[in-house]
């Protein structure tokens, strides 16, 4: 395969991951803000919307934690593996 092939192969993976994490997480965050605002908008507080809002924030925080874990793991010469679906830290392949 040529360099161009490798680059395009890498590019669509980065695009997918970028859309999932880079656009997906902030969208969840915005939904959380909307839920919180809506929960306080009516005459009586809407508890379910409040819980949903904080739930969404929690998911975003998990995403950020994943990002930090990745940076630290890479710094120590490890890699994150997603083969068990949930991320695990493994030795880096070379």
């Amino acid at each position: 395969m040529s360099n161009l092939g490798f680059a395009l192969d890498g590019a669509w993976r980065v695009l997918l991951a970028g859309l999932a994490l880079g656009a997906g997480l902030p969208i969840l965050f915005a939904l959380g803000i909307r839920s919180l605002a809506w929960s306080a908008a009516g005459p009586a507080p809407r508890v379910a919307a409040r819980v949903a809002g904080y739930g969404l924030f929690a998911i975003v925080l998990l995403g950020i934690a994943l990002g930090i874990t990745f940076i630290v793991a890479t710094g120590f010469g490890k890699a994150l593996s997603f083969e068990h679906i949930y991320p695990t830290i493994v030795a880096k392949k070379h």
């Binding site: 490798f6 656009a23 990002g67």
Partner: protein
């Protein structure tokens, strides 16, 4: 003695790398006033410092992607280490000087160009001058993404587009979601969203970019016989590089922050968060997949994308065009300076040659710094409205500077 010059120059490059790239993480955060300018650069500086110390892995083979001055295990090529490694040291010195001069010039013009391109460009130029065209690894061997084309050129074309698409999608959806939500909720929420995502970018920057300089200095130490271990980096090198990049970040490349935060698009808080999240995700995802890219290209692509995705948003394509032009010429321009420096150093030869190269660097850096004082940009005016009239008046001057160089 030449070794000392190389180390000082490498740390100087690391420093310019820091202040050139502050904007990547913090420009949007400063432009939307989520953080005060000083607080933003301080946060970014600290995270770069932490990030640099986190990089335990040895990036000794950093030059292997583009030039053939090292064996695959990181030791310098035997032919270059004769006589205290002077031949190798001169190539590294000339390459670093090429990178620094180009970084300073683009900073003076307020253009966010890639520091890694400047470094690679300088090294490629110096290698071509020193070893001929065959000394450069142009296209790799076809077994993986490698060489100048695979590690530098293709990612530079692809990564801003990816980041732009991600940021545009994110911005567009977020604006739809929060339409009609009271400002008191969105302001506070997006403030924290921006600080969080910008912090991730800073941390990732520290781990990636400080490592390159650490690798270059260690290579110089090995070439001159002051270090033998290819599996570790001397502690003082690590500390010096971490501090240099953090100080540079803290100094803040205000001109570039201004271009990226105010010049390209007018950034709303939601946009800032979408752009920074896109940058963070693309940088981390691609380094996970072994796809080398420049933080600068990603950050700029994200900011542009967030302007495209915002309903009724406006992108100043003229500013964007100037920037793309700067990207295109970064590699060859830094290469030319690197090559010229090598010829000067080689012509004079030995320690005197290296000294002259170093003095040229000091002189041109001073000249550009003095020049920057005429129209200073700092935390006091970094957020002023982007005024095309003023910017237009400054353009002829800028052209003159380019011509003079």
């Amino acid at each position: 003695m030449i070794l000392a010059l190389v180390i000082v120059t490498a740390l100087a490059f690391d420093f310019t790398n820091g202040f050139h790239d502050t904007a990547n993480a913090m420009a949007t955060t400063i432009a939307t006033k989520a953080l005060k300018p000083r607080a933003a650069v301080a946060l970014s500086g600290v995270l770069n410092l932490v990030g640099a110390f986190l990089s335990v892995q040895v990036a000794l083979t950093v030059t292997n992607a583009v030039v053939k001055i090292q064996n695959s295990d990181g030791t310098p090529k035997g032919s270059l280490t004769a006589g205290g490694g002077e031949a190798l040291l001169l190539i590294i010195l000339a390459g670093l000087v090429g990178g620094i001069i180009w970084n300073l010039l683009t900073w003076l013009l307020g253009l966010p160009s890639s520091s890694s391109h400047a470094l690679f460009g300088g090294l490629i130029g110096a290698t071509v001058a020193g070893l001929g065209w065959a000394g450069v690894k142009w296209n790799g061997d076809g077994s993986k993404l490698d060489g100048v084309v695979g590690k530098v050129l293709l990612p530079a074309v692809v990564s801003p587009v990816i980041a732009g698409v991600v940021a545009a999608v994110g911005t567009w959806v977020i604006f739809k979601i929060v339409a009609g939500v009271a400002v008191r909720y969105t302001r506070q929420g997006f403030k924290w969203g921006q600080i969080g995502s910008a912090s991730l970018v800073s941390l990732a920057h520290g781990t990636n970019d400080a490592q390159k300089t650490m690798g270059v200095i260690t290579l110089a130490l090995i070439a001159s016989g002051h270090w033998a271990d290819t599996k570790s980096i001397p502690l003082w090198v690590k500390v010096a590089c971490a501090v240099a990049i953090a100080l540079g970040t803290y100094l803040g490349g205000w001109r570039i922050i201004r271009t990226l935060g105010k010049g390209l698009v007018d950034i709303a808080p939601a946009q800032g968060m979408a752009a920074q999240s896109a940058s963070a995700a693309v940088i981390l995802a691609s380094s996970h997949l072994g796809f080398a890219l420049s933080t600068t290209h990603v950050a700029t692509g994200s900011v542009l994308g967030s302007g495209v995705g915002r309903p009724a948003g406006e992108v100043r394509w003229r500013v964007a065009g100037r920037m793309v032009l700067a990207w295109l010429i970064t590699l060859p321009a830094a290469g030319l300076v690197g090559a010229a420096m090598w010829w000067v150093g080689d012509l004079i030869g030995g320690l005197a040659g290296a000294l002259v190269v170093f003095l040229i660097l000091v002189a041109s850096a001073t000249a550009m710094w003095r020049r920057s004082r005429r129209v200073p940009v700092g935390e006091h005016n970094v957020n002023d409205d982007w005024n095309p009239a003023v910017a237009g008046a400054a353009v002829p001057e800028r052209v003159a500077v380019t011509a003079a160089n």
